[in-house]
Amino acid sequence: MSSKSNWRICGGLLVGLMAACAISVFAGAVWVPAAEMLHSGIIQLRIARILLAIVAGAGLSVSGVVFQALLRNPLAEPYVLGVSSGAGLGAVAAILLRLNALGTWTLPAMAFLGALGTILLVCTLAREVGGGTPVHTLLLSGVMVSAVFGSILMFLVSLSSSENVHDVLWWLLGNLQIFDWGLLRMAAIVVGFGVLTTVVLARDLNLMTLGEEQAAHLGLDAERTKRRFLLLASLMTGAAVAACGLIGFVGLIVPHSVRLTIGPNHRYLVPASALAGATFLVLADSVARTVLAPVEIPIGVVTAFLGGPFFFYLLRRKKHSGWG
């Protein structure tokens, strides 16, 4: 596909994101006329929510793109690899242990450490003696680590006092409801930095899809590149999880759908996935707020409901037809 039409698609996605934001401002449990909304402060709440959806959607999608390119694996994604659970575990530990060493940054820092620790753990567990990391072992390690972390989370929940339980459950369900401006600002800075860096260095990801050794033959310091991107993806996942809990499958659905449209060239794939991921979460949040109004369902429920079947579809696709 030509670069011109790819940029046009990116432009279209930007317009789509703005449209989604406009819809989302007016979507809610109750219909509020615009004038009243400005007075009541509802609009501030909704805009904050939309901003959070944009940040988390872009961060998780671009993390998915990075994991898929580095691991050369279509099913790699922060949630599937257990990176999200790791970040969640870090965050919950921060809440339960009442850590406050870094102020507002304590939670995201713990989430980031959890995310980074998990991806290193999963890769170590999956590495074979010869040095290769086969696809199925990697996924199984991710699922296993995810399950163990899930049980540790449940254990912590069962031990904690009732006022803590609410805080903790919030992480597990993933939603944009309880909200803290400081966290939003922090997540926006981290994800913004991560997405921009990934866009600028997108060509390196293209080379990494050929495998580390071939990337080295083409002049890339593959080891350093891999470490840099694992760090970036963990930062973005950690920030997104710190700000809105565990939201699954965004990093899977979005990059794949975008790849099917504009191809695997990361120069277009990264910005387009950031935009599409933001749009997807903004819309998913609108659905979560309105579909059972006045009851609000967690956004993680919406994304998992769409993502589960999609994951299955990708698994069943013929291996040799390539992917994305």
């Binding site: 390119a69 050369r72 279509p74 003696v129 010869g130 600028v200 260095l201 060509r203 293209n206 080379l207 899809t209 050929l210 495998g211 050794e213 071939q214 080295a216 033959h217 083409l218 002049g219 890339l220 310091d221 790849r259 191809g263 695997p264 060239n265 040799h320 037809s321 390539g322 992917w323 994305g324």
Partner: protein, 286 residues
């Protein structure tokens, strides 16, 4: 151009190369031959700089290979693997343009000059008509040519090939090797290639290095290396060697049953044992 000094290389505890030294001079077409597991690919990887030797060093002109930056190295040498696995659906043009990476600035985009060079590489390898096709959908031969084009787009002085014709049919084998030889002769591009097929090695290479169990057993022209006795002592295979009537290079031939005497004894022994055990083949049962 390159000199290899006393290389020892290992994967974990398995020593793959033991004290290997060799010279590669500019402009030559050098073949690496030897039995499976003799260290051919390992030597090529050491020369490319992706595998650091445990002992010894590789000298590129006057600098130690270790001290050359990866990107600088990729401007000088290109490496074509036996089979590059690519699961992402890049187009041929995108893959060939990846060969320009070492020449671009760190975050730069390709210029029209880079596009011209990619076009030139695709035209040479005969994949210009496939430029917009998805690499994963091509046949093995077409895909290999796309990757050769990627290597040529690097405009290397030294081309390293690891069994470049491994999965190709005879027509693709010849066209790929002919192209590489023409470039070698006309542009002075040095070529170092691993060969499994000794006849192809004899036809295309100026010089051969024969490896066996991680050591260099012989270095010389195809005429010097590819003798009946040498092949028997290194590969353990009985062959006959004649002259190719067209090129006058050595030509290795085989005939069914040439290695038969020992194998036949083996099989006879095993069959006889099986017959004793199971009783199959007793005359009175027929």
């Amino acid at each position: 151009m390159l000199s290899i000094h006393n290389i020892v290389a290992a994967y974990g505890k398995n020593v793959a190369l033991q004290n290997v030294s060799a010279e590669i001079s500019g402009g030559e077409f050098l073949g690496l031959i030897g039995p499976n597991g003799s260290g051919k690919t390992t030597l090529l990887r050491v020369v490319s700089g992706v595998l650091l030797p445990r002992e010894g060093h590789v000298q590129l002109r006057n600098t130690n290979l270790r001290d050359v930056e990866r990107r600088q190295l990729a401007k000088i040498m290109a490496f074509l693997s036996q089979d590059v696995t690519l699961d992402f659906s890049f187009t041929v043009r995108e893959v060939v343009l990846m060969g320009r990476s070492p020449h671009l600035s760190r975050i730069g985009w390709e210029t029209s000059e880079d596009l011209e060079i990619a076009k030139w590489a695709m035209a040479l390898t005969g994949v210009a008509g496939l430029a917009d096709r998805i690499v994963t959908e091509l046949s093995g031969g077409e895909r290999q040519k796309a990757f050769i084009a990627m290597c040529l787009a690097q405009q290397p002085e030294l081309l390293l090939l690891d069994e470049p014709t491994n999965h190709l049919d005879i027509a693709h084998q010849l066209s790929a090797l002919d192209l590489i030889r023409v470039l070698n002769r006309q542009t002075g591009m040095t070529v170092v290639s691993v060969f499994h097929d000794l006849n192809l090695a004899a036809e295309y290479c100026d010089r051969l290095i024969m490896l066996s169990a991680g050591r260099v057993t012989a270095v010389g022209t195809p005429e010097e290396i590819l003798t009946k006795d040498m092949i028997h002592s290194v590969y353990g295979a009985r062959v006959f060697v004649r002259r190719n009537p067209v090129s006058d290079k050595p030509h290795i031939g085989v005939s069914a049953g040439m290695n038969g005497s020992e194998i036949e004894q083996d099989v006879t022994m095993h069959v006889a044992r099986d017959v004793r055990k199971t009783g199959v083949g007793k005359c009175d049962e027929v």
